[in-house]
């Protein structure tokens, strides 16, 4: 092949005169017999395909229901919005200072929030100190969802399939299948990830640590770190990620985070309800190491959320961690 520079190749391609690619190509002679399918076999094939694949137009029994569902959906949506709109019309005006929602509860949170919790972010002080029980329940919602997804999607090495689930994959087959779709040493992805992943994780850590001083907190920071881990996984593959994040790490982090949260809050609630002093110092407001238990709880929640987000992604992709 003659060496041609880029510009002349481009001109040739534009004018369709010649191309280096086509010049030396030939078509292979097809010496083999063509597979002749009989009409009966063809019909049988179509029936088998129809059995496996769902074709809406084919199901006559559903056609009348579809129409009814559409009409019913529109009527129901209009009726429901009408009821809700009538309600909204009677609600207090948005933004008024004299709304029922702006009462003594809110006033105390703002006035005494700083001195009672030590956090300059009033919302963080509220969810991790005044109403910490709700946040405890909420982290366990995330945990139980991760468990449920694990039950459904994790492929285990055990051979016994008690219910004949027709899941034909074992974990090794799933890994092989996943490797087909994984980008193999994609240059752009890896270079960009090498630049971005440290920044993302650092930013996530910053958001977690500053949860009590500025907008942020465990949940948002944890989601950011989770996103960073997912980007790393996509760029570098499962082998590299499993060097520092595998099933054992995941289980340990989840257990320690949740158990620490529950036990620390149990101690705080016990002391508070019984009038004892919990000896947790509130520190100087505005410093990182302040606000009592809020900083450790933020870290615990952040770790749990990051691991859960990564686990969701890994389960969906490969069926295992």
């Amino acid at each position: 092949m003659k060496k041609r520079n880029l510009f002349s190749s481009l001109l040739d391609w534009v004018w369709e005169s010649r191309s280096d690619l086509y010049e030396n190509m030939t078509i292979r002679d097809d010496d083999e017999e063509v597979n002749v399918i009989t009409k009966a076999e063809h019909k049988e094939d179509i029936e088998k395909v129809k059995e496996k694949v769902f074709d809406a137009a084919d199901r006559g029994s559903f056609r009348k229901w579809r129409f009814l569902y559409k009409i019913l959906a529109v009527v129901f949506a209009v009726f429901f919005s009408a009821v809700l709109l009538i309600t909204v019309g009677q609600l207090p005006k948005i933004g008024e200072i004299n709304n029922p929602a702006n009462n003594e509860v809110e006033k105390r949170y703002i006035e005494k929030g700083l001195e009672e919790t030590g956090a300059t972010n009033i919302v963080a002080g509220m969810i991790l100190d005044y109403r910490a029980f709700d946040t405890l329940g909420e982290s366990h919602v995330l945990f139980v969802a991760a468990i449920a997804v694990t039950i459904l999607l994790r492929l285990d090495k055990s051979e016994r399939d008690p219910e004949d689930t027709k899941i034909t994959e074992t974990i090794t087959e799933a890994e092989e299948e996943d490797k087909i779709f994984e980008p193999h040493h994609d240059a752009i992805l890896q270079k960009v990830a090498m630049l971005l992943v440290p920044i993302i994780i650092l930013f996530g850590i910053y958001v977690i640590l500053n949860g009590h001083l500025s907008p942020g907190g465990g949940f948002s920071g944890g989601a950011i770190i989770g996103a960073g881990l997912i980007l790393y996984l996509n760029a570098f593959g499962f082998e590299n990620t499993e060097r520092f994040f595998n099933e054992k790490v995941y289980k340990t982090v989840i257990f320690s985070g949740l158990a620490f949260y529950a036990l620390a809050k149990c101690y705080a609630f016990f002391c508070g309800a019984n009038g004892l002093d919990s000896h947790i110092s509130k520190g100087i407001p505005g410093h990182i190491l302040s606000a009592g238990l809020i900083l450790p709880l933020d870290i615990a929640v952040g770790c749990v959320v990051a691991c859960t987000m990564y686990a969701f992604y890994a389960m969906f992709r490969k069926g295992g961690l």
């Binding site: 496996k52 429901f80 909204v88 919302v123």
Partner: protein, 124 residues
């Protein structure tokens, strides 16, 4: 009728979105679209809650320069409720999606009626 509908137009929009999401979750045939309806419904609730806290002329509840008068900040309670709601929504979406994956792997369809029909045929 003394109605605040025009003043509360943002709340009205959020309620319409809620109704659309609710109807989607209830009556749509496709499983993925039901999950999208669920997310629409939850987003409408967050919008509604976020509007609850707003007070005209006040700023976000991060204490700046040691100012602790309630006249300076908006109501922080609805923000905490939205935080909880978002986490719950993410969890149930993940669960519903994994259920959809399992059903699809087995029946190769996303239509709930079709799956019931095939189950009846299997006669479990």
């Amino acid at each position: 009728m003394n109605t605040n509908l025009l003043n509360n137009y943002a709340e009205a929009v959020s309620m319409i979105i809620f109704a659309i999401g609710f109807t989607n979750l209830l009556l749509h045939k496709n499983l993925i679209k039901k999950i999208i309806g669920l997310n629409i419904m939850d987003t409408a609730v967050y919008l509604f809650l976020a509007l609850k806290g707003y007070i005209k002329g006040h700023v976000a509840p991060i204490i700046i320069d040691g100012v602790v008068e309630p006249e300076a900040y908006i109501n922080p309670i609805p923000s905490g409720l939205v935080l909880t709601g978002i986490v719950v929504s993410v969890s149930v979406t993940a669960l519903m999606l994994s259920l959809t994956i399992r059903l699809y792997k087995r029946y190769h369809t996303l239509d709930l009626d079709e799956i019931s029909l095939r189950l009846k045929k299997e006669g479990l």
